[in-house]
Amino acid sequence: MMLDAETLQLVGMKFLFALLMVGAVMTMAGYSVLAERKVSAWMQGRVGPNRTVLPYVQYIPILGPFLRGLGIFQPLADGLKFLFKEEIVPGHVNKLYYYMAPLVALVPALTTMTVLPFGEFFHDNGESFPLILADLEVGILFILAVSSLGVYGIVLAGWSSNSKYPFLGGIRSSAQMISYELAMGLSLLPVFLWVSEPGSGLSALSLTGIVASQAESTWLIIVQPVSALIFLIALFAETNRLPFDMPESETDLVGGFHTEYGSFKFGIFFVAEYAHIVVGSAIFTAIFLGGWHVFPWVADPWPENWLGSLLGVGCFLTKTVLLIFFFIWIRWTLPRFRYDQVMHLGWVRLLPLALVNLVFYVILVSWLDQPVATN
């Protein structure tokens, strides 16, 4: 292979950036677990994790007890616990696929973030580049494609466990994925139409193009509230969050697809679920909430230099964190659907609604673009 210094440097930098990004998302996933415990405790009038602390930190005057009360070290303790637990493999499982399933669940969640723009870098000569690992022309399709592969982790876990309840969980998961993927794709079509109207010159299939178009006009959640609603509901279903957590509903399936999993293998499933939520929230932010631009209709109030990029990234992260809170809030507010209700909602309500929404925006966009077309 031809590996000169330049190629090596390029590959090395990409590798480093990818590692940083994985680190950031995994940290966020770990802390959303903590957020889930704290928010649920808060909603139920409890305290939540408030004992874990690193040695000697509690002796720092005011800060120590405060950090302890926040439970800020809890994710560390949880991770260690998963690592040091006894590794139990039930005798009746299909070993190869049993070990593969958690990885298959985690990898797509981490792969989707390669095409996720989270900010803007302003160069000294006035140019600006989006902060993104790979600015793919068909970024959204990439996200849809890769996230649809995530279901195989659950299906594999259900099948290889060789046991009734995980199996049912796997089947439910695949049925749910097929049903809601359709609504999700259809809810994005009006967005593509809106962004790539004649003369805009933006590529609607890349997330950077969508964010740029929102900076020019306004947030897409204001222009297309129905698309945003359908996308959000489908996102809940695709991330297996309550009220759609059919594959692991404890009341009727024991533990669902991960009934037979313990120790670190269960930990990977757990982290994968939260990584899905983090990446899903970030995608929703980029598509419907204006990305790293702070207000609808208003140009960014910050200067176009390093400070501006930092504030932009901060703005993106704030919106993402608020959406993660929304995910948690819904989980501890709404009861779980019954399985037939999930299917009914997907096929009878969401799919026709998404189709009507699409036809409406087809007519609207063609009507709005009429003067341009006659010229």
């Binding site: 793919l136 399709l141 695949s174 994925m177």
Partner: protein
Amino acid sequence: MNMVDFLFYVFATLSVGGGLLMVFSRHPVPAALFMIVSMVGVAALFVILEAFFLAILQVLVYAGAVMVLFLFIIMLLDVGPEGGKAWRVKFLSGFMGIVFVGLLVLSLLDIGLDRSSSLAWPALEEGVMVNGESLVFSASVKNFGYGLFAKYMLPLQVSGFLLLAAMVGVIILSKKSSASEEV
């Protein structure tokens, strides 16, 4: 051997190996999984050819949707090892496989295995096909769209109509069987 060649051999091995393992696995669930591996390998080959759109469609439609349905049906029917494979079906599929490999070899012989000519061929031919229209042969999504909805509108409509007919047929067949069960 440069980077692209190396990656080509990696992903070609992945797709062909996945296909072989699919054919030779005894249980249908691993077979379906190997088919997914093979499809992802083909998608990676599309990426090497810089046809990102095709690559993503390959993953989105086949690996992401069709194979989920396959797995769903396999699991729902609980097909065991060697389930549902009569020897006649085996013979027919083997025969068809040999026929298709033969056709592939014939077509390869026709265009020639010379690398430079096989790479240059599509762009040239496309230019003749487009013939005056403003279609440029490229892998970008916009050109796919213009091609599909302008030049190839009629074939697109016809294939859509065929799919619609197939769908109506499936609905009629499944309705019939459930009605006869009720009686």
